[in-house]
């Protein structure tokens, strides 16, 4: 996945930026040498064995490498995990996203989990209380007494760090110290939703090692080797079963918590959603369940985080294309949907198992439940009289997923054309649009929500109107050209992530080509993408452009590596005028090139940051002092302070740029 030099450099720089020099050197040596033992790493990095071992400990603790110990061999073998290292660039985004969804306590918990790499649950909570609760009192006391001893430990106070002190100080004040129980509950919530996963010994084996190990284990049942197709099949299923059980072991805790949280009475959830969806977690149950699991090791699950980041990105796209309110409805839908999704791309090993979840669906009610009550859904939809809408078309149900346009993006979706659903198949719910009372009673029939009928007089119509408007938003999404949502059954919605993200990828690609080569370049590449390989001579007529213009543009794009040309000689002496030239646009290769150059730009941003640091090292050496940290404004001379602010501005810009490029990488590679 990450095979290029720039990617390797990026990983090393990221580790250097966050975890320090020693682990980054060891990681660089691992990347350069591949799988190796301590001795080889010593040779490669000219560190001493003790240092290498310390570096390895840090890397293992932070889940950045795999290792494999062969019982017969004296030394363990270590292997870099570059995608884990790449994920470090998303730390900020993940923390921010967790804060948005689960509140501040959850963010601090996740922060601690990333900080410590992997940790026991009980230890984590202890650490959490020690760090954040104590530290709060500490900093309060310091502010009041004006006392600043050397333990300027309040470095986690974000006020002066990111330079937007006004916004965060408000939340700091409001932030009440959570109770012990609450911390456990939030943690349970995080585990159940998959953000945090449990760690077992098998986590540290690379997927290949795991598979080989299992295969060797299973092979013992076949002492005479595999003979014939039957035995091979048997072997494969046994290996698969074994892998599944290992995977099940890893997710056992998650599933247990999920079950527990799902069976919570709905009433409680409803009550809580009313006080704000951000904290809309179920308040009991999880914590007590965690009591039995105090010594489970946990760590952050990046796969799940990427799913959530994808949701965020898609909602942003909807906001750009359709509108704000619709984007919020879409966000709610994705939140509901992503409960059933644990990773963006189905990995090879688990493909069979995850195939069941390939097409998760959510019901309208479910989406409604996830929608923040503060969203006014009446915005952003037009009104049309009943008879101008072709209800059969508007509510048409599309049962089968559309086919991907290009086989190179096929993520394992089954074959299936854009099935034109028979005309009589549509969702009747829509016909009841103006029968608010009818709608209300339909909702009332839902189990677990009894009493709606009685309250129907005052609460029913309003909420059913809201529901109806939200449905309109969903229909807009389903009808849009990008097909953000598919209406896959009566009251059922799903998202075809494969084709949808392919379209998003095309949008990104198009933007990039347009930025670099202008509208004409974009036109030419789109023609090529549509038609495949096109002869040099027919292209100008097709693009309605002058021949020299086309040629200049094409040459320009070829040099940049976006297009390529294939020569097909018409006769044996390969003369230029007797040769046909076919232009084509190789998407997969283009994407790989773009990815690589994006990694390179990210590397340069990080290097630039280093240059800036070196340029202002006088200022930074002062601000890094423990008595100055957090109190820069009071402690520093004004010119030094302003210079420091300038540096923060530069750093913010560079990090923001890295974040943007990471968005691009995520769209092209991960989502």
């Amino acid at each position: 996945m990450l095979g290029t030099k720039s990617a390797a450099e990026l990983c090393v720089l990221l580790i250097d930026e966050l975890y320090g020099q020693l682990p980054s050197r060891v990681f660089a040596a691992l990347l350069a040498r591949g799988r190796s033992n301590v001795g080889k790493l010593v040779q490669q990095s000219s560190l001493n064995p003790k240092q290498v071992r310390h570096g390895l400990v840090v890397l293992i603790q932070q889940n950045l490498i795999f290792y494999h110990t062969d019982p017969d061999a004296p030394h363990s073998l270590y292997e870099a995990n570059p995608s884990a290292a790449y994920n470090l660039v998303r730390v900020g985004k993940i923390l921010d996203m967790v804060e948005n969804q689960y509140g501040r306590t959850a963010k601090l918990l996740v922060h601690d989990v990333i900080l410590l790499g992997q940790i026991e649950i009980a230890e984590l909570v202890r650490h959490y209380k020690h760090e954040h609760c104590a530290q709060k009192k500490d900093s309060d006391g310091e502010v009041e007494a004006g006392h600043n001893g050397i333990n300027g430990d309040d470095h986690t106070n974000p006020n002066h760090i990111n330079g937007n002190g006004t916004a965060s100080s408000a939340t700091e004040d409001e932030y009440a110290e959570p109770e012990d129980e609450e911390v456990y509950d939030i943690l349970a919530q995080l585990i159940a939703s998959g953000f945090i996963e449990s760690v077992t010994a098998s986590t540290f084996q690379s997927p290949e090692d795991l598979r080989t190990g299992v295969e060797q284990e299973v092979m013992k049942d076949f002492p005479n080797g595999l003979r014939g197709a039957k035995q091979t099949n048997e072997f494969d299923t046994m290996v698969m079963d074994e892998l599944k059980s290992i995977h099940g072991e890893r997710t056992a805790l998650k599933r247990k918590l999920q079950d527990r949280l799902d069976y919570e009475p709905n009433i409680k959830r409803r009550k809580l959603t009313n006080c704000g969806w951000a904290n809309g977690f179920v308040a009991t149950g999880g914590g007590s369940l965690l009591d039995e699991e105090f010594d489970t090791m946990i760590r952050l699950n990046h796969d799940k985080c990427i799913v959530e980041l994808r949701n965020q990105k898609l909602a942003e796209h909807v906001e750009d294309i359709i509108g704000d309110t619709t984007a919020q409805v879409y966000g709610a839908l994705l939140r509901a949907l992503s409960k059933k999704i644990s990773r963006c791309r189905v990995s090879g090993i688990l493909s069979n198992e995850e195939a069941d979840f390939l097409e998760p669906r959510v019901s309208t009610d479910d989406v409604f439940e996830h929608l923040s009550p503060s969203v006014d859904v009446s915005f952003g939809i037009g009104t049309a009289s009943e008879d101008t809408i072709d209800i059969r078309y508007a509510e048409k149900i599309r049962r089968d997923p559309p086919q991907l346009q290009d086989p190179s993006f096929q993520d394992g979706l089954q074959e299936g054309d854009v099935v034109v659903a028979s005309d009589d198949e549509y969702d009747e719910t829509g016909e009841l649009t103006n029968g608010a009372a009818v709608n209300g009673s339909r909702r009332g029939s839902k189990p677990g929500q009894n009493g709606t009928k009685v309250k129907g007089e005052d609460g029913g119509p309003l909420s059913s109107q809201r529901l109806r408007q939200m449905r309109q938003h969903l229909l807009i999404l389903a009808e849009s050209k990008q097909q953000f949502v598919r209406h896959c059954g009566a009251g059922q919605w799903t998202v075809d992530f494969g084709p949808l993200l392919q379209r998003v990828r095309f949008i990104e690609l198009d933007t990039m080509i347009e930025e670099s080569f202008g509208r004409q370049g974009l036109r030419l590449t789109r023609i090529l993408r549509e038609k495949g390989k096109i002869d040099d001579k027919t292209l100008p007529t097709m693009a309605l452009m002058r021949k020299p213009d086309v040629h200049v543009k094409m040459a320009e794009m070829e040099m940049a590596g976006f297009l390529d040309v294939q020569e097909v000689p018409r006769d044996n002496n390969r003369a230029a005028n007797r040769t046909m030239f076919f232009w084509f646009f190789d998407e997969e290769r283009t994407l790989r090139r773009i990815l690589d150059s994006t990694y390179k730009s990210m590397v340069r941003c990080l290097e630039r940051l280093e240059v800036e640091r070196r340029r202002r090292k006088n200022v930074l050496s002062v601000t890094e002092r423990r008595d100055v940290q957090g109190k820069e404004k009071d402690m520093l001379r004004s010119d030094v302070y302003s210079e420091w602010l300038e540096f923060l501005e530069v750093e913010k810009k560079l990090l923001g740029q890295i974040g943007r490029m990471d968005d691009l990488v995520a769209i092209l590679r991960d989502y």
Partner: protein, 290 residues
């Protein structure tokens, strides 16, 4: 006209028009009407104006802030190892000089040992207590946050902070061959880089004391009264160790000053009333003082 002839004539025809027809490799090389400017590009064109990025959205700003916050938190944790390059790499203006080969890359990194100490800055100063010492090894000893069985066995000794160096030093030593281990560690000083990671060297141990709680501090002071400084909370054994060290001839390591000489440079500022130090003039000045 053959293809060869067409290509041969390109130079002559192009000269008069200020441009050239396309080079022969290109598909439209046979098209004389096409003029391509093949002047070599400037290495860094002066007219190049990179497009300015749009300002950050609130979301990006927040996530950037979270990143910085996390980085700072990690950098203040004992697992962080500071960046230290050697003097040459530091003095160059450009930190990202091209590097060829692994040897050259490795050369950039600094080695921290008694030979590379800057004699002018190594003397403990008041302001050192505010500055993190350059940590070359993560402080694993105090951390209780890992679980051994998740690590390969050859790292278990390292985890406990008892790595003795050498190719087998990571294995955990069972029982009590403590003295032998200590000797071995000293003997390992022959290894060229073995001594660049003495943790208690320099102002580093300020840091360790800082994080201790009040009880720990009391215990330490009590312990110091009885029998000198110890980090591991095992007074008897460490005493033995340090006596051994005092006896050993090659031991001129001044970290052993810790167990109480007349002039205890490293503990000079640390024992006693650092909380009561006036912040009015002292800290204010030292912050300016660079």
């Amino acid at each position: 006209m053959s293809g060869r002839g067409g290509r041969g004539g390109r130079g002559g025809r192009g000269g008069g028009r200020g441009g050239k027809p396309a080079p022969p490799g290109m598909p439209f090389g046979d098209d004389p009407s096409l003029i391509v400017n093949d002047e070599p590009q400037d290495t860094y064109p002066k007219s190049y104006k990179p497009p300015a990025a749009p300002p950050l959205t609130p979301l990006e700003e927040r996530s950037g802030g979270c990143f910085v916050q996390f980085r700072l938190a990690y950098h203040n944790s004992p697992m962080y190892t500071h960046r230290h390059l050697n003097a040459d790499a530091l003095s160059t203006k450009d930190p990202v000089m091209p590097r060829y080969g692994q040897a050259q890359i490795n050369e950039r990194f600094g080695i921290k040992n008694r030979a590379t100490v800057d004699p002018f800055l190594a003397v403990p100063m008041y302001s050192h207590q505010f500055v993190d010492d350059t940590r070359t090894l993560p402080a694993l000893r105090g951390a209780r946050l890992y679980r051994k069985d998740l690590f390969p066995q050859e790292l278990w000794g390292t985890l406990g902070g008892k790595d003795t160096g050498g190719p087998k030093g990571g294995f955990e030593v069972e029982g009590k061959p403590k003295l032998g281990r200590k000797r071995k560690a000293l003997a390992d000083d022959d290894y060229p880089f073995a001594d660049d990671d003495d943790e208690a060297f320099g102002p580093g141990h300020y840091k360790r004391r800082e994080n201790e709680t009040e009880e720990e501090r009391k215990a330490r002071i009590d312990g110091a009264g009885k029998g000198g400084e110890n980090e591991e909370g095992e007074p008897g054994e460490v005493d033995l160790d340090e006596e051994e060290e005092e006896l050993s001839a090659e031991d001129d390591d001044y970290e052993d000053d810790e167990d109480g000489g007349d002039y205890d440079a490293e503990a000079y500022f640390d024992d006693g009333e650092d909380e009561d130090y006036g912040e009015e003039e002292g800290i204010g000045e030292s912050a300016m003082d660079f």
